[in-house]
Amino acid sequence: MSIGYDSWAVDLAEVGPVYPMQGWEIPMVIVGVIFWIGWHRIQFVREGEHLEKAKKIGDAEKVAKTLERY
């Protein structure tokens, strides 16, 4: 993927953006937003399952010891 330049033999005063895939900014942002929302979704589901399971795993003796540890 090109950044628009294949050499730095240029006048820097005339150089602007130098990242790859110029012109594709909006699709890149859409991908980023999907990644962000998807992360929340995955985390939300996993945490719900984990807490549901965690409600039942507490061995009374171990829990009492945990409380004592402060």
């Binding site: 942002v29 980023g32 962000w36 985390q43 945490e47 984990h50 507490g58 171990k62 945990t66 402060y70």
Partner: protein, 454 residues
């Protein structure tokens, strides 16, 4: 960059903000240490993870929409205003200015300076709710306070063109209101719905102290927050700018540092006032709390926060007294609210940030009454009513109300608070016992291997 002076100014300014960003990172380190120190051993990892993940979530959302809000919302449908799409255009996530661009060398650094304030706002809320909130719920709040509500208030009251500055004469140079009052108000809205930790109140309603697991970690945490606060103060200034660039009513050719409103101040002034308000806060908190270590340390922070609205213009003695007065009010208010409303603010964040911010804004209205809020013509001057309305907008309208409303929705859906069984056994229970089991297993394996050799 045309001309050596312009180039030098740009390079200096971008480096200046970059350094403030690095310093401000320490605020987050401090908050993490404070929260973990305040939490009990059975909740450490969860508490730490809850705060650490604020960093990426607020960062990406501040890139996607937070920064655009700051530039597009200063006159958001208030008094005939609207969304300013032109000003926002260069700050959309798809703008070439928000990327590697040799024509724009400063937007990223400036963006990051604001972003670190966003982390702080979210982190303040995080401290109040430890040991009983679901991480998923907190992270929604983190995005809302960090990338939506605080930055709306910044556009309104912490921007040279903000309607609150123009109409109310709102003055909040180092963010008593725009960071602290809003975040404290937001935290209050959340904890009001979330409820206290198990055991916080006796059956007759008397509040119990839940001592920190590790007092030394709290101490280091708060000292790191002090340190990062230096960076925060510097980041609130424009380090050097010429009157022609300001293009306001200032005459002559003297370059100056300015506050966020482009009104003149000096780095010297804010250094005096930061330290004097810290000192006033520490001294008053020591007296009012009868030497309680943690209230004394938090009082230093509350002193700075109370004086911050006017620390660009106060005399150092004023900064000291304002800091001290604020701390006394905040301390009394904290315990009154705790007893009256049975609220569990685990780290005192509502008081130290929220109440201090509100008190600081109101005091600034009196002490700076009549001072120009801006170098531009036609802006209201600083006044008590404008500051009081501003404090109400920050704490209640943009802080408390959304925090309470979103928490109510989460509570109704059953996704706000962890189950009681998990709260008792500890959020780290599964991880802790998996760790202990793994430890026992590997020790047993090592011993067996050793036995075979001997």
């Amino acid at each position: 960059m045309d001309g050596n002076l312009n180039a030098l100014t740009t390079v200096f300014t971008e480096f200046y903000y970059w350094v403030t960003v690095v310093f401000m990172f320490l605020i987050h380190v401090g908050f993490c240490m404070y929260e973990v120190g305040a939490s009990r051993a059975r909740n450490h990892m969860h508490t730490l993870m809850k705060n650490v993940m604020i960093i990426p979530l607020v960062t990406v959302t501040f890139f996607f929409f937070g920064w655009w809000i700051y530039w597009a919302f200063p006159n958001f449908y208030i008094f005939g205003g609207s969304i300013d799409f032109d000003a926002g255009a260069a700050n959309t996530p798809w703008s070439p200015n928000m990327a590697t661009n040799l024509e724009d060398r400063i937007t990223g650094v400036f963006w990051a300076a604001f972003l670190l304030f966003s982390w702080t706002a979210a982190s303040i809320v995080s401290g109040s709710v430890i040991e009983r909130i679901r991480s998923s719920a907190l992270w929604v709040h983190a995005v809302l306070i960090g990338s939506v509500f605080w930055i709306i208030d910044a556009a309104w009251g912490w921007h040279w063109d903000g309607w609150m500055v123009k109409v109310l004469g709102y003055h909040d140079a180092y963010a008593s209101g725009v960071i602290h009052a809003i975040a404290g108000g937001y935290a209050l809205g959340v904890i009001m719905v979330l409820g206290p930790r198990i055991g916080k109140f006796a059956s007759d309603g008397t509040p119990r102290d839940i001592p920190p697991h590790n007092p030394w970690m709290l101490t280091i945490g708060i000292f790191l927050i002090y340190t990062g606060f230096w960076g925060f103060y510097a980041a609130c200034n424009v380090p050097i700018i010429s009157p022609e660039v300001i293009d306001g009513q200032i005459v002559g050719t003297t370059w100056t540092a300015t506050n966020i409103y482009l009104a003149p101040t000096t780095l010297s002034a804010i250094t005096f006032n930061f330290l004097m308000s810290l000192s006033g806060g520490l001294m008053a908190a020591y007296v009012v709390s009868k030497g309680d270590a943690f209230w004394t340390f938090s009082g230093g922070l509350a002193g700075i926060i109370t004086a911050s609205a006017g620390n660009d213009l106060y005399h150092p003695v004023q900064a000291m007294i304002v800091g001290a007065v604020g701390v006394v009010i905040v301390y009394k208010l904290h315990y009154w609210v705790e007893r009256k409303f049975k609220l569990d603010d685990a780290v005192g964040a509502v008081a130290v940030h929220g109440y201090s911010g509100v008190v600081g804004l109101i005091i600034a209205g009196f002490v700076l009454w009549g001072a120009p809020s801006s170098p531009y013509e036609g802006y209201a001057t600083v006044n008590p009513l404008g500051q009081a309305i501003g404090a109400f907008i920050m704490f209640f309208v943009l802080g408390f109300a959304p925090g309470w409303a979103v928490s109510k929705i989460q509570s109704a859906m059953g996704v706000l608070r962890i189950p009681e069984e998990v709260e008792l056994q500890g959020l780290d229970y599964a991880e802790h016992h998996a760790y202990e089991d793994a430890k026992s297993e590997i020790i047993a394996a090592d011993k067996a291997a050793l036995a075979q050799k001997t």
